[in-house]
Each structure stands twice: as C-alpha cells, then as structure tokens.
C-alpha cells in the first residue's frame, strides 16, 4: 500500500468502526424511558452514550483524515444505507430486553478484545480511541454478562426468551471475524485489528457464559454477512430515516 492508499484505507476503517458504534448506540438509545425499571433505563442510556461517543471519535478522526471539510456529522447524517459499513449484528432492531442484552453480551466480548488489540495499533489516534473504549467495554461486559446469567437462571420465561435471542443472533456473529482486503492490508501494516485471530478466545468465553447461563450453543448452520459491503437488513434504512430526519428535512443548517 502506498501512502495515499493507506490514508484512504485508514479513513474507511475509522468510518467502519464509527458505523458499528453509532448504529448500536442508536438501538440502545431507543430504550430510553422504555426499560424494565428506572435503574436499568439509566444504565442502558449510559452504554448508549458510550457508543455514540465512540462513534464521534472515530468519525472525527475520519473527518480529519478526509481534509475536505467533512465533519463527524457528515458521516452520521449524510450517507445512505449502502454507504453504511457497520457489521449487521449492531443494527438489528432492539427486540425485547433479552434480545438487547444477548446482543450486547456478544458484542461486548468482541469489543473488549477488539479494543485491547487496537491499543497496539501503529496508528496513534486509533490506539488513543481504543484506550478510552477499553475502559468502557470492561464495564459493559461485566454488566451484560451478569444479565446473561440472571436471565438464563431466572424464570422459565426469561430462559426461553434468552435462548431464542441467542438463536436469532448467532448467524450474525460470523462476520465479526472476517476481514476483507482493506482490513487485511491494514493488519499487515500494523494498523487494524486482526479480528479473525480474536475468534478462538471469543468462542471460548461465549461458550463458557452460555454454559453457565444454561443456554444451548446454537448449531452453526446459518450465517448472514454483508455489513462491510453495505448489504444490510432492511431495518437499517428505517433507523437512518429517523436518525437523519433533521439533516434531510433542513439541509445544511446549524442546530
């Protein structure tokens, strides 16, 4: 990769990570005033804030790299579905509380390992974002793992809901560990995280938690992928139409 290509690749990589954080943060923020009890409402909002904050850091870095006057908001508000490159797991509608916590747990196990690896990035800005994210993800994981155990152990209903959530989510986890050419090149340059290498530890941790929560590990016979190429579930378009409403209805204004 020459310098110009690398510059563009890092920009795209930052946008990808920003997209992951933004759409998940959006889904979490939908819980505000809808959580099962007030303390949990505040906790979910906290995690939403962390993720949206993370998106802002990645987008701001991408904006800086673009050098063409784009801002964090250009990335969030002015791209359509096909240009969003988040992994699909992050965008799935929030579902019930079991679905939200199960997704969060699967993401948290991944995000913590991912951010720990990103700490070692040759790109100091990415490593700097990771440093903040690692601390947050540690707390997120402690919480979501605890919820897995509570819901798995709780009542027949909570167990059934958690099992069905894990079953519905499982096929979306595979693409977390797949790298396209862009990411492979950035891995070779010591910039990006080799997410494929995170899989064994993730598998072991998730299986141990599911086991402790008495939840069956789903058979690995289905998988959906496409987020990094902008092939999304239809739900993303609706998410964006809500997220981007103001910027689309009143283009180019300051708020």
């Amino acid at each position: 990769m020459n310098a110009a290509n690398r510059h563009e690749a890092v920009l795209q990589y930052a946008v990808r990570l920003g997209d992951d954080a933004l759409v998940l943060g959006h889904r979490l923020s939908e819980w505000c005033s809808n959580a099962p009890f007030l303390e949990e409402d505040l906790a979910l909002t906290n995690v939403a804030l962390d993720y949206i904050g993370r998106a802002r850091m990645f987008y701001s870095y991408a904006a800086e790299l673009s050098g063409d006057g784009r801002s964090e908001d250009s990335f969030a508000y002015l791209r359509d579905c096909r240009e969003f490159t988040n992994l699909l797991l992050h965008e799935l509608p929030r579902g019930d509380f079991a679905f939200t916590m199960a997704r969060q747990y699967l993401v948290d196990e991944y995000a913590l390992a991912f951010m720990e690896a990103l700490l070692e990035s040759a790109d100091p800005q990415l490593a700097g974002i990771a440093a903040k994210a690692v601390k947050e993800s540690r707390y997120h994981l402690r919480r979501s793992r605890d919820w897995m155990l509570r819901l798995g152990d709780g009542t027949e209903e909570s167990h059934r809901r958690l099992q069905s959530a894990i079953d519905d989510l499982w096929g979306y986890t595979h693409e977390l560990f797949e790298l396209d050419e862009l990411e492979q090149e950035l891995v070779a340059a010591g910039i990006a995280v080799d997410s494929a290498a995170l899989r064994p530890a993730w598998d072991a941790a998730v299986r141990a938690t599911l086991d402790e929560a008495t939840i069956a590990v789903p058979a690995g016979d289905w998988s959906v992928r496409g987020g990094r190429q902008g092939i999304h579930t239809e739900s993303l378009g609706h998410l964006l139409s809500e997220l981007q409403f103001m910027q689309r209805a009143y283009p180019g204004l300051e708020w």
Binding site: L38, I52, R150, S158, F245
Partner: protein, 322 residues
Amino acid sequence: MTTEHHEQDLAALEQRFQARIDAEEKIEPKDWMPEKYRQNLIRQISQHAHSEVIGMQPEGNWITRAPSLHRKCILLAKVQDEGGHGLYLYSAAETLGASREEMNQALHDGRAKYASIFNYPALTWADIGAIGWLVDGAAIVNQVSLQRTSYGPYARGMVRICKEESFHQRQGYHIMMTLARGTAEQKAMAQDSLNRFWWPSLMMFGPHDAESAHSAQSMKWKIKRQSNDELRQKFVDQSVKQAEVIGLSIPDPDLQWNEQRGHYDFGDIDWEEFNRVINGDGPCNRQRLAHHVKAHEEGQWVRDAISAHEAKKRQRNDRQAA
C-alpha cells in the same frame, strides 16, 4: 411510637414539632412528625418524582432524531439526569414509608399526578430548546426554593438536583439561541415553540395563592418556602430578559415592566385550560400514562427473573453452607 411518646399528648408533640420547624431545624426520617405532614410530603415528593420520570418522554421522543451527534449526546445525558432525579426523589419518599411499587401503582391508577406540562407534545426540535429553557427553568425556580424545605432528605435531594438543572436550562437556551440566530425558518420554529410553551410554563407554578388547596399548611410547615405567585413572578422576570437577548417575543400583549413593583406585569393565565389539561384533556395525557404502563408491564418478566434468580442464589448459598 415509643411509650415515652404515648405519655405526651398529641398537641404537645405537634407544638414541639412546629417549634423545630420555626427554628429552621430539618426534620429527619426517624423524627416524630404529624401524620398529615408525612402524607403531604409523600404526595408532593412522589408527584415530583413522577414528573421527572414522565418528563423523560417528550424529550426522549427526540433522542433518535437529534440534529447532530453533539446535540444527541447532550440530550441523552439530560434525559438520563431526569431519570436520576426520579430515583433520588423516590428514595426520599421511601424514607417516609412509601414504597416504589405503591407510588408506581398510584401513578398508574391516576391517584398520583405528575407535572401537567408534560401533557403537551414535543413536536419540533425547537421544543427541545423550549423545554430545557422554560420547563427546566421553571423547575429550577421551584427547586431552588425547595432546597430550604423542612424535610431533610427532600432538601438534600434538591441541592443535588439543582446542581444538574442549571446545565439543563443552559442547553435548552443554547438550542433556542442557535435557532433564533439561524435562518428565518429556524427562527420561526423557535418562536412557535415559545408560543406553545410559554403559558403552560407559567401554569407549572400552580393556582394563584388564594386558590391553592395545599398552600397555607405547606407554608406553615415550611414544606413550601415561597408562594406559587412569588415563584411565578421570579420566573417571568428572568425569562423576559432571556427572550430579549435572543430576539424572541413572549406571547403576552399585557407583558409590561412595572416600575413601582420592580417586576413585570403579565396577562391572565387561562385557568380553564389549566384545569382541562390537569383533568385529562391535554394533548398527550393518555399516551404519557400508557407509555409508562406499557414499559412497566413489558418489564414484568425481567423483574420476575431477577427475583427468581436472587431467590435461587440464596437457596444455593444456603445449601452450600449447610
């Protein structure tokens, strides 16, 4: 009540209680207090708590649509603060013997009220500005006064809450300022919002002193420290200047500086509307309550799961210990 208390007669206890109030002593949870004082406080504090929580809905309704990531984070943090205020206040009411479950039930049954302002809809982004500026602004005026309320846990809760409230008002005012300085369309959006929220904000202070059902006794017990009309005047005076600074006009033709009083005179409040909205015919009364009930009912299985898990954990621990 202890036997020692039984020996004294009620009148003496009440006299001593009033003397403590008069001496500006704070009443604490374990202290003797008249039953009516307790009930009055539970009513007021739980209503205040419900207002914080129901108030999350109109603003929460804009979190996913906030016009920039910066505004989105501020709004999320703000709405989260309001939930936190609800928590402090429920805890303060719990020190008086009310339970969260009972208070929630009273809200759902319509026995407990919440601030009627939240029965108005947040329709445009400017409403997020107006709510922060005016609704939080009015709440602050009231809450600053309540920092000196006679019940200790309530007063301390207010001190904590007031620290966060000024950020709420500033962010709202800043949204309004940005719109007022923006395009004609943005300015119109801000003005429309001020037009809709001005009078309901004045109503937040409640009926005129002469007509206020709970006022006289509450003032004597120093649950309330300033009258509805005094607080309302304070709010009008500060808001008129703030509106001027950003070039928006208060929708009141009778608004005028009164040199003699050193205050602004303002027009008559439409008390019919006030009563109509309080009694259920506001634009959002039904949705606000239905939203809260729905979240509570949908969360039942989660709360059940926690209790079942805790019970099982205790059993497992007991078995291990045995």
